[in-house]
Symmetry: C2
Subunit: 336 residues, 2 copies
């Protein structure tokens, strides 16, 4: 039933050896033209397809790379994956995806499993909860190229492509300042994560550089949901001296804020200006469309894949490289 033609089958049919068939198929110069032609034709006839597993075992190259993200259906990550796939596909690599669900344990198991499957590299955006980096070190020790994207850990020799979150925070804040906003609130994320810490720092620096002192009351740490955004804006507007602008480190936070503000009679942007972060697909469709920092996830995926390609094969000759993608503020009605 499963018509698995092997080179042995071809060899038998032609009274040759597998070695000759293999060489003929690989266009080895030592094989006569006549034989080559014969083999090629027979192969086609018998519907021969090489078994990549056998090849992989022999050559020690599986042609698979593993990609680990928290969740694949988050637009940001799925777009990065698309970038990776489109860069690696033409080179003959297959992309194996898996999710960490933001759990360190799961991330560790997944990586072990990928290593067992002999992937040639691992591209990962580490989970929020990952503290220990042993599972990542193991990858490096085995000499398997490891590349971080968006969320990284500091491991010697491991390359990364991340977004310039500091500049992102800075630009967004500066943008609001230049529009004349004087009390700019910041909805931050969990600042034990580098990305949120950096966005926060950018926010602080921008304020200071423009002669404004950061106010602690105006900085909240929330999760990336519309609900948290609603709670946050509610508490902000209850202040004696409420903000006249919001810089949210996530688009969902901005969304929640806008929803609540609209429902409570505030006008955006005239009463309060809002800037989000990540340029999620929905931001441009909102009413008003939300200004946001585009993180060019497609580009991030591409670059990460390119880094892998540079490293693979060159067992030790490569050195750590860090790509930092520049911020790109998409100004929309919510802040203009």
């Amino acid at each position: 039933m499963t018509n698995k033609t092997t080179i042995y089958d071809i060899a038998n049919r032609l009274n040759l050896t597998a070695a000759t068939v293999s060489r003929a198929l690989n266009n080895n110069p030592r094989i006569s033209k006549a034989t080559k032609k014969l083999v090629l034709e027979t192969a086609r006839e018998m519907n021969y397809e090489p078994n990549k597993l056998a090849l992989a075992l022999k050559k020690g190259r599986s042609n698979n790379v593993g990609v680990v993200v928290p969740y694949i259906n988050h637009s940001f990550f799925s777009t990065i994956i698309r970038g990776i796939e489109e860069e690696l596909h033409p080179k003959g690599y297959h992309v194996i995806i898996s999710q960490s669900h933001e759990e360190e344990d799961r991330e560790g198991q997944t990586i072990k499993s990928l290593l067992n499957a002999q992937v040639e590299g691992i591209l990962i955006s580490v989970s929020r909860s990952t503290k220990n980096t042993e599972h990542l070190n193991e990858v490096v020790q085995k000499g398997i190229p490891l590349v971080f994207f968006d969320r990284k850990k500091d491991i010697n020799g491991v390359s990364s492509v991340i977004f310039d979150d500091y500049q992102g925070g800075y630009q967004a804040t500066k943008h609001l300042i230049e529009l004349g906003c004087s009390r700019i609130a910041h909805f931050s994320g969990d600042r034990s994560l580098e990305i949120y810490q950096d966005r926060y720092q950018g926010y602080v620096s921008a304020l200071k550089d423009h002669g404004k002192e950061p106010v602690q009351d105006l900085v909240l740490e929330i999760r990336s949901t519309a609900e948290d955004g609603i709670q946050a804006i509610k508490s902000q507007m209850a202040l004696k001296n409420p903000p006249d602008a919001i810089f949210s480190s996530t688009d969902y936070g901005a969304l929640g804020a806008i929803t609540w503000l609209k429902n409570n009679g505030f006008n955006i942007p005239s009463d309060i200006r809002v800037v989000g972060f990540s340029n999620e697909p929905f931001t441009e469709f909102m009413d008003p469309p939300i200004s946001s920092m585009d993180q060019s996830p497609l580009e991030m995926g591409r670059k990460a894949a390119q880094m892998f390609l540079e490293q693979v094969g060159k067992k030790s000759a490569w050195k750590e490289k860090r790509i930092v993608l520049p911020p790109n503020l998409i100004v929309r009605k919510s802040s203009s």
Copy 2:
């Protein structure tokens, strides 16, 4: 550097043979407890990890399944993939993803490549442009489980899990009729694709069942973009007798329609009611939130994976199965 410990290394260290080590690791009852313990300890010590490639070659089971979708960063597909991954991961399978870019050729090459990589099954949502099904037949002929999701082709013996598009179209239209709408326009997609044809048929049936004759002027075929939605609504509102409701077969079409209507002074839902299709993440955040048919992509992915699991291994004992997921209208402000 790459500390690849094999069972031979362990065997050497312990003055045993690879066979014994293999059996010990696999808990074969013929191996003495003492030896087992020794081997297990040494394996741990030497940091042994089985080479799944070798195993795969020997057993003819790669533990990989291929998933082919048009684009992985479309929310609908990435969510399906998430469902697939979450169902297959616990069973030890890895998910290899690839994109067809809606091109038949690319789809064919991808499938060939996946077959060469010895995947144990292929789950696919066929590209829009796919007419020829030879590459799909080949999968079946090789005895590899093939499962369609969302977009299928009729191939004998191939199972599928799709959404009940006819009922979806019917329910959406019925919903609008029950709200008192009398002239319901339909933004359809390319009706050479089953899904759009079915949604259209559901629309027509609902109208007829409620004593309304479908009007050709009110049916347009558009692409799934906001721009097309804008053009479509523009032409509709220019009719002598414009519609009082829109049933769009895509959320993007609905989005475009709403955008234009709001900009031109119409109120939604009081002037015109709108229902979309697919329940894209953005629909619930819009102003007004858009009613839409939820297609439960997570569930679709899960079911597709389960179908694969049922088939794999049972070379011929399984029979074609078709799962049709029921429609689930999410009513939001755009139609209430």
